[in-house]
Symmetry: C2
Subunit: 129 residues, 2 copies
DNA sequence: TCACTGGATGCAACAGTGTTGCATCTGTGT
DNA sequence: ACACAGATGCAACACTGTTGCATCCAGTGA
């Protein structure tokens, strides 16, 4: 963020570290709760503002259909689809050529002008299954 | 709903008719607003409770990533994927064998036990494009 | 090292969304 | 027409996210 003339404050650093460290995507309230629990003095509002800023910078992804965010692992990749464990909340990104192709077919066959899509798998990870 | 010993009250009937009649999925607040506008005396809470009940009965689908609901057109079909117009909100369901197949491949290749997925296309419909 | 400064922060207040408890009403079967 | 289960409306509440504003602080240049 230094590139953007944004100072790296103590709360912001703690937030970033927490998101990076967390094995599963966390939402604003969870981020806030965890930080407070860890003794970091940070306001609810700052969590929201930082998360929004990081999303805008493309450093975070939002888990579809929820407010949880996860670090953007593969920034170069155009489509970041993820599979999320419904038990523990951990997430992993995946990429499927066949899937991209099938989506492209649908895109071409519909009379809509397709601008994007939401795709996310739900299931149980290795430890939770 | 008669099968479930649920009386068909005036507000409930109006809500059902509105959902059936609407060309685009509506959320609770829109449903409430439209009904009031049409002169139906119904409370916000009743809208929420009725929508919840109808979703549970499988008579409605929720638009992914939003609170809007649409009538369940093809109840027999396992996967109801929809494409939603981001301009006017209208939605249409679609089905793609290739897509199902690709999703099946991903399902098999991951180490997660996949239980379901979220998939919805976003775009512009014929009238809005 | 120190003052400066723009962005970040915390706090308070607010708005929107969805939920719960409860007294009352109403549709339905008898 | 009656009785009852379920639905309704209302009030109050909880949660989530936003905005305004005074203050603070990390980073910069002297």
């Amino acid at each position: 963020m230094r590139r953007d003339r944004r100072p790296i404050t103590r709360p912001r650093r703690a937030l970033l570290e927490l998101i990076e460290r967390s094995p599963k995507p966390l939402g604003p309230r969870e981020l806030h709760r965890e930080l407070r629990r860890a003794g970091v003095r940070i306001d609810r509002v700052s969590v929201y503002r930082n998360v929004a800023a990081l999303l805008e910078l493309g450093l975070l992804h939002r888990v579809l259909g929820s407010t949880a965010v996860r670090p953007c692992v593969e920034r170069a990749q155009k489509c970041h689809h993820a599979i999320v464990c419904t038990a523990c909340g951990s997430a992993r990104e995946f990429h499927s050529v066949a899937l991209e192709k099938a989506l492209g077919d649908v895109r071409r066959s519909t009379r809509y002008r397709v601008l994007g899509h939401l795709l996310e798998l739900r299931g149980l990870c290795e430890s939770c299954r």
